[in-house]
């Protein structure tokens, strides 16, 4: 996508995300061709949309399309996707003898689907099952961030009743792409928190001066920017090298960065930021939940460390 096309694409996405959220945003994305763009211009489609959703506090079922795009399964386009359970990046399904046990999450759109795709770990690869939504228990989640519209999915289904069954060897690639999407969404949310706190710091007067003059305040905001830029830099590197390891690092940094942003910005916003009169809390809630999707910063960090200790060597990341 060249510069001019990218600008037009971004403007139309921005308009859609500013004016819609949830189901209407899904419809708007279909209409303006985001789903087609996803296949042809994956990087732009994912990074622009998800950063906008993060920064404007919108939600959609775009993550389903992200999974569909990278798994490339021969399934009906109307099928919804079951995401890994909270905090994890492993597939939501487990084959246990004649049964498929399902434990995971879904985007809001899942409630309207008749069929779901459940990826499950098999011996050396992953297999995907088409499971009728009616055979699963779907619980709309309120929790920390009711507006995100997550759905909790669980159930045990007799394996023989399920068809077709397709190998899904690209699960790690699908996880990586979802992590990049969520990484951009977290960066978007963190940037908005920083901007809310920055504006507040310039306007709020205490001790006869804007609180932006106090070094403790300034350094918290500086720290927040450093955390955001770290995540952004690794997101860029992950798009460039296409490696699942780099995508996982980017997601972890984005999750931790958004938590850092929430902590510092909340302190700068102080009383007003603790109220629902101020929009800060929406972003803080969202950051906490997004950090848990497709691997939390904590679990991804521990897994990376475990792997490095096992192999005792560092990959040569971000070469010139």
């Amino acid at each position: 996508m060249d510069g001019g096309d990218r600008d037009v694409f971004e403007r139309s996405l921005r308009h859609a995300v500013e004016t819609h959220s949830g189901g209407p945003l899904d419809a708007a994305l279909l209409e303006l061709g985001w789903t087609d763009a996803l296949a042809a211009h994956t990087h732009e489609a994912v990074s622009i949309l998800f950063e906008l959703e993060g920064s404007l506090h919108a939600s959609s079922s775009a993550l389903d399309h992200v999974l569909a795009c990278s798994l490339g399964l021969d399934v009906p386009p109307t099928a919804g996707y079951v995401l890994p359970p909270l905090g994890r990046r492993s597939p939501p399904g487990a084959v246990d003898g004649a049964h498929l046990a399902v434990r995971g999450l879904g985007t809001a759109g899942l409630l309207a689907r008749e069929t779901t795709v459940v990826v499950a770990r098999a011996v050396n690869t992953e297999v995907a099952f088409l499971v009728p939504a009616a055979d699963l228990v779907l619980r709309p989640v309120r929790g920390m961030d009711p507006e995100l519209g997550l759905v909790e999915v669980s159930g045990t289904v007799a394996k023989d009743a399920l068809r077709p069954e397709v190998v899904a060897p690209s699960w790690p690639a699908a996880v990586a792409l979802a992590q990049l999407a969520l990484g951009h969404q977290l960066v978007g949310a963190a940037r908005t928190m920083l901007e809310l706190a920055r504006r507040h710091a310039l306007e709020r007067v205490q001790f006869g001066q804007p609180i932006s003059g106090f070094q403790a305040v300034r350094h918290r905001l500086a720290e927040t920017l450093v955390a955001i830029e770290s995540a952004e830099a690794v997101l860029g590197a992950a798009w460039e090298d296409g490696s699942p390891t780099t995508a996982a690092v980017a997601k972890a940094l984005a999750g931790r960065g958004a938590r850092t942003a929430a902590r510092h910005c909340q302190q700068v916003l102080a009383g007003i930021g603790f109220t629902t009169e101020h929009e800060f809390h929406h972003y803080a809630r969202r950051a906490l939940v997004l950090d848990e999707l497709f691997g939390s910063s904590r679990s991804l960090t521990r897994e990376l460390g475990t792997e490095l200790l096992a192999t005792r060597r560092l990959p040569d990341f971000a070469p010139l």
Binding site: R198, R218, A222, E229, A233, V234, T301, R313, F317, L320
Partner: protein, 376 residues
């Protein structure tokens, strides 16, 4: 020559000349030894042409992208052929000379630095002037013979080895702050200069105090114009936070790799290792995009303070991990390997001090990148 071609031919050459490039096995890895090794590696890489790539032809270079310099420093550092701190002074001081020295002076002097014939130092800090650089007081006055410099510098890295010094002096009124500063290029063997090495915490006399008493410096040794010293200093700092920083990142990556090899099983917590590795990813990814902007001819500015925060944070995190994983060696080991880890751990404590402290970087980020207004 593009980067890939450069990378291939440099790697081949380094493989083939491994023996000649290696430090003398009898050397003890003292600072004297490291300086001798640095001079040797610079000379050999200059003669083979690699050290001249990425520098303009008018100062003896062979032209080409600055990415070639970044890769050269990375390759020499990660093969353990040079110590990155002393190697990278070139990356800080040569660009300053190219931008601000009279062309004939730059053409004469820069090749000597690149070839390893000379060592240069950077005389900014003074006993009364650290973070508040604009308050410096080492004075230069006009005389018939040139500038006459009287005053004192402190913590000047490598001054005891240096042939030349990029020196900041006060030429305006005592209260002229950043407006009254002039940068000079001073021969360290000039009469009136006394250099006294200072012992440091990490055990190598890395820096010195330098006394100037009526030192005469010819006018043609002025860098930029009289009163332009502040710009010289400010333009130098982004160099310190770009190519030199990329070299430091390569060094940290190499040391973390060595730690993974050296740490006894069970001594390192997976979560800690993962977090430090992530900091290094972030540093490398950020610094790489800065390298690319530099190579594309972009002017670097206050956004490099983020790079500087990342490198200081990563360096201390890597060596905190060393102190955990190799606790016995670092605390009570007296073998050469433990001594090296200990020295590096202690040196890492300075990462948030030199080149603008961690607090000064955050001040710059707040004022210049977040537009929070003046902090005074």
């Amino acid at each position: 020559m593009d980067l890939d071609e450069f990378r291939r031919s440099l790697d081949d050459w380094l493989d083939q000349n491994e023996h000649d490039l290696r430090a003398d096995p009898a050397a003890k890895d003292t600072l004297d030894d490291q300086m001798a090794q640095l001079a040797k590696v610079k000379r050999l890489t200059y003669e083979a042409g690699f050290m001249r790539r990425g520098w303009p032809e008018r100062v003896g270079g062979l032209g080409g992208s600055s990415l070639l310099r970044a890769y050269l420093g990375e390759a020499l550092t990660s093969r353990g052929l040079v110590e990155p701190g002393i190697y990278s002074l070139t990356e800080v001081l040569a660009p300053t000379m190219i931008d601000y020295a009279r062309p004939e002076l730059a053409a004469t002097m820069v090749p000597r630095l690149l070839r390893g014939d000379e060592t240069w130092c950077q005389g900014f800090s003074e006993p009364g002037t650290g973070s508040n650089l604009a308050s410096l007081s080492c004075r230069a006055t006009r005389t018939e013979d040139g500038w006459s410099v009287t005053g004192q510098k402190v913590w000047t890295s490598l001054a005891q080895y240096a042939d030349r010094c990029v020196l900041l002096t006060r030429t305006g009124d005592a209260d002229s702050a950043h407006r009254g500063i002039t940068a000079l290029f001073v021969d360290m063997d000039s009469p009136g200069i006394v250099v006294r090495p200072i012992e440091t915490m990490h055990g190598a006399p890395e820096f010195s105090e330098v006394f100037f008493d009526g030192v005469v410096v010819p006018f043609e040794r002025t860098l930029g114009e009289e009163g332009q010293g502040w710009s010289v200093a400010m333009d130098l700092l982004p160099y310190e936070r770009s190519t030199a920083l990329w070299h430091r990142a390569a060094y940290l990556q190499q040391r973390l790799g060595s730690l993974l090899q050296a740490a006894p099983p069970g001594e390192l917590e997976p979560a800690d290792v993962g977090e430090v590795a992530q900091l290094l990813y972030a540093l490398r990814a950020r610094s790489r995009s800065t390298q690319r902007r530099l190579a594309a001819g972009e002017r670097l500015g206050p956004e490099t303070s983020i790079d500087k925060v990342l490198v200081a944070t990563a360096e201390q995190a890597v060596f905190d991990l060393v102190a955990d994983g190799l606790a016995t060696g670092v605390a009570v080991g007296d073998d050469p390997a433990s001594e090296r880890w200990r020295r590096e751990f202690l040196y890492s404590r300075a990462a948030t001090i030199y080149g603008g402290t961690a607090e000064i970087q955050r001040n710059i980020i707040a004022r210049r990148l977040l537009d929070l207004g003046s902090d005074r």
